[in-house]
């Protein structure tokens, strides 16, 4: 039979699975079943943190079936990402290509994994939700996440979500949402991986305040000279915390960090990242109805 759009789509999907599959590896770093990983650089594997239960003696099986030893190069339990370093000169040839166009709702996508030495495994679905920020089951905030309606087979954690052109849309894991599969978008995952390669870990900022979201009346918004509907009313400051040392007090309404408006808790969480840890950071507050900026040296959680 001659080719038609169905055959072309089918071939394209198989091509995408093959292309991304060549950059998808088996990661054997725990006692139970192996999981998957993505070739992030010739000698680096990006995978899920929760499947790495030992730091040494990790075995990676690459696309051509070769087994390579690896060790942990960096991990961020909060985002459930880890980077492994291959102990082989030259590394592997095929490196995964992160997408340049972020996932779109309704887009078809392949979930890939290499849970066994016998070859790549795949399932097909569509991007069914893009959301965030959410609090993960690991006590951190994930700015954005992708969900699909495809089947995640055992051992798929650490593997890629793949667009029809074979580029990687994100990293799949069952470790962030009580065992349900979610995908960490590629731009976030690659950014975290960059930091892990450089520093071995991700820093999370800490102020030492308790707060609740409150409405900012229009008069105070005028004082702020911007439209900002909510802020964080500080209802408690821990002794000797970065906040207390910097001079934040109960009753302040926190409205910005480093010039970025903060409307909700999750935005504060996201903003207090490695970029501000250890640095004197301007915190915008409303105190007695007047906007003020108070410099706080952000601590590390």
């Amino acid at each position: 039979m001659s080719s038609n759009v169905l055959v072309e789509l089918s071939d394209a999907l198989a091509d995408a699975a093959e292309k991304a599959g060549n950059a998808t590896v088996l990661v054997n770093a725990r006692r139970r079943m192996p999981a998957s990983g993505i070739v992030y650089a010739p000698d680096l594997i990006l995978t899920a943190d929760h499947i790495v239960e030992r730091e040494e003696g990790i075995k990676v099986i690459v696309a051509n079936g070769t087994e390579v030893s690896a060790r942990l190069a960096g991990r961020d339990p909060g985002s459930d990402l880890a980077v492994l370093k291959l102990e082989r000169p030259g590394g592997v040839e095929t490196v995964a290509e992160a997408t340049k166009s972020p996932a779109r709702l309704g887009q078809i996508a392949l979930v890939l994994g290499r849970p066994s030495p016998n070859g790549i495994e795949a399932s097909l679905g569509t991007v069914s939700a893009i959301g965030g920020p959410i609090q993960t089951g690991r006590g951190s905030m994930l700015e954005r996440y992708i969900r699909t309606d495809s089947i995640s087979y055992p051992g798929f954690s650490g593997g890629p979500l793949v667009a029809a052109d074979g580029t990687v849309l994100g990293v799949n894991t069952s470790g962030l949402a009580n065992g349900a599969a979610v995908t960490i978008p590629a731009d976030i995952a690659w950014r975290i991986a960059d930091t892990l390669v450089k520093h071995g870990r991700i820093q999370h900022g800490y102020l030492g305040i308790r707060s609740q979201t409150v409405e900012i009346p229009s008069a105070l918004q005028k004082a702020l000279q911007r439209e900002q509907g909510t802020g964080l009313l500080i209802v408690g400051v821990e002794n000797d915390s970065p906040a207390s040392k910097g001079g934040l007090i109960v009753g302040d309404i926190l409205v910005a960090v480093a010039g970025v408006p903060i409307l909700h808790h999750d935005e504060l969480f996201t903003r207090l990242d490695g970029d501000v840890v250890g640095k004197s950071t301007p915190i915008g507050v409303l105190r007695g109805g007047q906007p003020q900026t108070i410099n706080v040296v952000v601590g590390e959680r």
Binding site: M1, V5, A14, G119, A122, S123
Partner: protein
């Protein structure tokens, strides 16, 4: 380009082409499986476990019912070959090459007694399953939903060629299909043996 129209149309064409080769195989008192018209002159391929102790009844798409003859059955590959007295049937062709992971597949069958269903998926993995004898058997795993009643039906590719015979039970895994190569070998062996039997007097066996 009217992509949607074209796409729907080619899927419809695929279903129209494959469906005539899908049959019902009633081999047990309760429940039924599916079967594949394997040649124009009445060869029907199905799962061994679909064929019980009774003479299986084969029901074609035109609702004609046939008492079949059991030519051969092999529990180790979970395949059985039946023959019915019919001609001019529309058979399916096995795919000449193994499928690729990621390619689209369609499962045809009668899950839970629901007649003539089509479920869509992709090839998830090409793996080996172990049968009771300890032999390994190439199977095609897909993410197409299968249920009892899909057994014995075809898993076809985008061209409508058979890439597997659906069988849920091998190795306890869900949604697996016996690779078309196994089915092809099985049929070839059965037909070769039948031919030699026809030439050989029965008392010499």
């Amino acid at each position: 380009m009217n992509f949607n129209g074209t796409f729907t149309q080619v899927i419809d064409e695929l279903v129209q082409r494959v469906m005539p080769a899908l049959v019902i195989v009633r081999g047990h008192r309760f429940g039924a499986g599916a079967g594949i018209v394997w040649d124009a002159n009445g060869l029907i391929l199905t799962n061994n476990h679909v064929v019980g102790r009774r003479t299986p009844i084969v029901i074609l798409q035109n609702d004609h019912e046939y008492e079949s003859r059991l030519l051969a059955r092999d529990p180790d590959v979970d395949l059985a070959l039946l023959s019915i007295d019919a001609t001019d049937l529309t058979p399916l062709q096995p795919a000449p090459v193994p499928p690729r992971v990621g390619e689209m597949v369609f499962a045809f069958g009668h899950p839970w007694g629901q007649r003539n269903t089509v479920t869509r998926g992709i090839v998830s993995a090409l793996v080996s399953a172990q049968n009771r004898r300890g032999d390994t058997l190439p199977v095609v795993r897909s993410d197409a939903p299968l249920a009892p009643g899909n057994s014995g039906g075809p898993l076809v590719n985008a061209k409508g060629e058979v890439v597997g015979v659906n069988a849920m039970i091998i190795g306890g895994d869900q949604s697996v299909s016996i690779a078309a190569s196994v089915a092809k070998d099985f049929v070839t062996k059965v037909l070769a043996r039948k031919k030699s039997e026809e030439r050989t007097p029965v008392d010499m066996l």
